[in-house]
């Protein structure tokens, strides 16, 4: 058994999320104060009511002090953690386990990233001292290997593949245009997307998520305590994480059309939550659309589409806001950018709004109105063949 899970043992009773974007006027300190206080306010509690904090950031701070200092937390445990692009979700996962263990009654998970202070294009990371033999290739370039590999495997021409990729970007921008917190709030035409300047391989600018700043936070309590805070909490159904052996880039048998870590973490999560047909049981999914081919492959790895069929499902609108399974109804990384530590909790924030019928009407997912009560969040950190993958499932009802 990969994991036993903590299905329905903890609940989310408050969330907060800042506007994402080029927040020139907000530092990381400002954004964590904003998101944590929004979450506390949503739960109807003060900061002294929180027993412990999990603070996720890739590189916008270090140690618990980067949270306790701006928030003036009085001598409580604050754990800073990092797990690449799954960092925000890891804060949520670990805070949930702490509450489920009984060690704490109230925990806060918060993530933040301040990317726009570097002065550089794209995500800039620092690495441990090394021997200089790793090819200095960018993230878009690493993920760009996926597009021609997928197209070749399933017989798509380059033009057809480009259309599928553009359709994914078009959908996410369509959704983001209905989200006042998104970095980009305009629809973008298929033609503009397809003709955008190339960044790497088949990826144009519009096939890549933006670079932005943001923060999001959640308040987690035991399920039996949840109704003391609010009548409509969300219940944690599954928390799964898989770190792979990282052999894809060195193993000729890896074909760049799947992320095995995602397959494994999804299987684990569905087992924990008791889900057998995710496409029909989930009301919505927030997935890690760092690049458009990533989202395409995720549809298959997460079990939303059959192998080799995601591309046609995408073109048929299966994952549109009004499709069979709405994917990234908030606009995704495509519209929000990817402030690494915050993204996982930003995804959870959309589940929070959607499953509790608080999303603006123009992007409220019909499946929720139709009675579906489960939502999935997913992050992938690393690259094809060597990544960590998180899959979480929350629901609006226990049991």
């Amino acid at each position: 058994m990969a994991s036993k899970g903590i299905r329905d043992r903890v609940a989310i009773v408050g969330m907060g999320c800042t506007a994402f974007g080029e927040n020139w006027d907000r530092g990381a300190d400002d954004m964590v104060v904003d998101s944590v206080h929004a979450a506390l306010g949503s739960a109807g509690i003060g900061i002294d009511d929180v027993d412990a904090f999990w603070f996720g950031t890739l590189q916008s701070g270090e140690s618990g002090l980067s949270l306790s200092r701006p928030l003036k937390i009085d001598y409580r445990p604050v754990t800073r953690l990092e797990n690449l692009c799954a960092t925000g979700s890891e804060a949520f996962r670990n805070a949930s386990y702490a509450v489920a263990s009984g060690a704490y009654d109230v925990a806060v998970a918060v993530g933040v990233e301040k990317l726009k202070d570097s002065g550089y294009s794209g995500l800039v990371r620092t690495f441990p001292p090394a021997d200089g033999t790793a090819a200095g290739i960018s993230s878009p370039a690493v993920f760009s290997f996926v597009a021609p590999a997928y197209a070749a495997k399933y017989g798509l021409t380059e033009e057809e593949m480009k259309e599928v990729m553009s359709r994914i970007a078009w959908k996410n921008h369509h959704n983001g245009a209905r989200n006042p917190l998104a970095q980009y709030q305009s629809e973008v035409s298929m033609e503009t997307i397809a003709k955008s300047p190339r960044v790497a391989g088949m990826l144009g600018v519009y096939d890549c998520s933006g670079v932005s700043d943001g923060s999001a936070a959640a308040v987690i309590v035991r399920t039996e305590d949840a109704e003391r805070y609010r009548p409509d909490p969300l219940y944690v159904k599954a928390l799964a994480l898989a770190a792979g052996p990282g052999t894809g880039p060195i193993d000729q048998s890896y074909d760049y059309t799947t992320f095995t870590e995602v397959v494994r973490s999804a299987e684990d999560a569905y087992r924990q939550a008791g889900i057998t047909d995710p496409r029909r049981e989930l009301a919505m999914a927030e997935v890690h659309d760092c690049f458009t081919p990533t989202e395409l492959v995720l549809m298959e790895d997460l079990g939303f589409a059959e192998r080799g069929k995601a591309w046609s499902d995408v073109l048929a609108g299966a994952f549109d806001l009004d499709g069979e399974l709405a994917v990234n109804p908030d606009g995704g990384l495509k519209s929000f950018g990817h402030p690494v530590g915050a993204s996982g909790l930003r995804m959870l924030y959309e589940c929070w709004l959607q499953l509790r019928h608080e999303a603006p009407a123009e992007r409220q997912v019909a499946a929720v109105e139709a009675g579906r009560k489960l939502a999935l969040t997913h992050n992938l950190g690393g690259g094809p063949g060597e990544c960590v993958s998180f899959v979480g499932i929350v629901g609006s009802e226990p049991g």
Binding site: S121, D131, G132, T133, I137, A141, P245
Partner: protein, 487 residues
């Protein structure tokens, strides 16, 4: 008997048309083209490539199967480092035994010429690898810029053996040393300064005549007996005038490769000599003259072993290397590659400095592209999985402690995945990156070099080449391997 027992050259891929200089700067420009080291090459990397052609196959980092080397000497006018030895990087890239001494002889063209003379002089006793490499620069519009060329040559000298017979035996050597201010360069400067050319003709004439006469006298030859005369020097007119007046038959005067490569400084005498050895017949007398800070002459007699050496499978001739290059390099690119034109950098951080301790720990991997192979028993046979970089735990069978070193430097591969990366830092954007699958197993992500981003494609065959990925702002050169189109 001792002498030359192996030789090989490296001519970089790019050619600059001399007319391209004139188009940008005005002036006459001149005919033909010069060879140009790519942005990711320096004298050390080109030296490695030349040496690889000699030491058993383009490629084998094995250090030449069964070859015992007594020393490695590296000569260049423009060393990548000073204070730190550059020959050690070549030594590491070739995977030579640590007991083989490696040293530099740098600073001038004559360093290289006399390194070769010394190696020939010791060749009855010691097996030596002499590598000469140069990148010739000049200020924009100068004669040095137009008439220079970039190349490297490796000459293996030593006593004759059954496996490695002498190909050409030295029968006389002579030198004249002269202190004269015909050209000079302050260390670190981008180009040399020169006195007017006619002064060189005046000063060098008597030196070269004297050295040539003495060498022929030692060899008991008349000028008419010379089958191949190689005359090299930065002063093209001095070299050509001497060759014409030497008494050697006109048809025996070797082409100095001026129109196709240019004068390659420290590497040039060896380059033209190698070109002659590609054609010479047993018994031919070859005289090689270098005019630099004096004059140095060596007389060689070609042995009967040369034709068999030349016909070895897969050997590429100097002429094939000269004609294999790609013309049409933009003059602005040329200037940028040589650091004479600073381009706006991308909005990306500079690459991190390679750190000394991890570089030392991974020396066979970083310098010689040595990975690992799993020898764990699996189902009655060896697992055999090949890993780049070397791993402790097998990616296939998960066994630990069964790894042995496995070299990939000489293994061809195929471009399995390909991308043109417009975002990544590169001294020559866009960066072209590929997932390379090696024949027989093993995969790694490499930059591609010497490729046209418009035509490179998945499925292309590639070979590995030693390059300089970048140089940090504090002057650390990051050496590693790239993939280039297979010849």
């Amino acid at each position: 008997m001792g002498g030359i027992i192996g030789y090989g050259v490296y001519v970089p891929f790019y050619r600059l048309e001399r007319s391209a200089i004139a188009e940008a700067l005005g002036g006459r420009g001149g005919k033909g083209h010069r060879s140009v080291a790519s942005y990711d090459e320096d004298t050390t990397t080109m030296g490695v490539e030349a040496a690889r052609t000699v030491l058993g196959a383009e490629g084998g980092a094995a250090g030449g199967a069964g070859l015992h080397l007594d020393g490695l000497a590296f000569a260049t006018v423009v060393p990548a480092y000073t204070d730190k030895t550059n020959a050690t990087a070549i030594h590491a890239a070739l995977g030579l035994d640590a007991a083989v001494p490696a040293s530099d002889r740098t600073g001038s063209v004559r360093s290289a010429v006399l390194a070769l003379h010394d190696a020939l002089d010791a060749s009855t006793r010691r097996t030596l690898l002499t590598v000469a490499s140069d990148i010739r620069t000049g200020l924009p519009g100068s004669s040095d810029e137009a008439n220079g060329g970039d190349a490297a040559v490796a000459l293996l000298t030593g006593p004759s053996s059954a496996g490695m017979p002498v190909l050409a035996e030295p029968i006389a050597m002579s030198s004249v040393t002269g202190e004269l201010l015909d050209r000079w360069r302050v260390p670190g400067a981008p180009a040399s300064r020169t006195w007017e050319e006619r002064f060189g003709e005046f000063a060098y004439g008597p030196m070269v005549e004297s050295a040539f006469a003495r060498a022929l006298e030692q060899a008991e030859l008349k000028p008419g007996d010379v089958d191949h005369l190689v005359v090299t020097g930065a002063h093209r007119r001095v070299a050509e005038r001497f060759a014409r007046s030497s008494g050697v038959r006109a048809e025996s005067i070797a082409d100095g490769l001026s129109d196709t490569v240019g004068y390659c400084g420290a590497a040039h005498m060896g380059l033209v000599l190698a070109d002659v050895l590609d054609r010479a017949r047993p018994g031919d007398r070859v005289v090689a003259v270098s005019i630099a800070d004096g004059a140095d002459v060596v007389v060689l007699r070609v042995t009967s072993a040369l034709p068999a050496y030349r016909s070895a499978q897969g050997r590429t001739t100097v002429r094939e290397r000269v004609t294999a290059g790609r013309t049409g390099l933009g003059y602005a690119n040329f200037l940028a590659w040589r650091g004479l034109l600073e381009r706006d950098p991308p909005r990306r951080p500079d690459p991190a400095r390679p750190a000394a301790p991890p570089s030392l720990r991974s020396e066979p991997w970083k310098f010689a592209l040595v990975g690992s192979r799993c020898t764990a028993p699996v189902g009655g046979t060896e697992c055999g999985a090949r890993h780049l970089p070397p791993q402790l735990v097998c990616m296939t069978c998960r066994a630990r402690g069964h790894m042995v070193p496995h070299s990939f430097a000489g293994t061809p591969g195929v471009v399995s995945k390909l991308t043109i990366d417009h975002l990544a830092y590169s001294p020559n954007p866009p960066l072209v990156a590929a997932v390379v699958d090696f024949d027989g197993g093993g995969r790694y992500r490499f930059e591609l070099t010497d490729v046209d981003p418009a035509t490179v494609a998945m499925g292309d065959r590639v070979a590995m080449t030693f390059r300089r990925l970048y140089t940090t702002t504090d002057g650390v050169h990051d050496y590693f391997w790239k993939a280039r189109p297979a010849q």
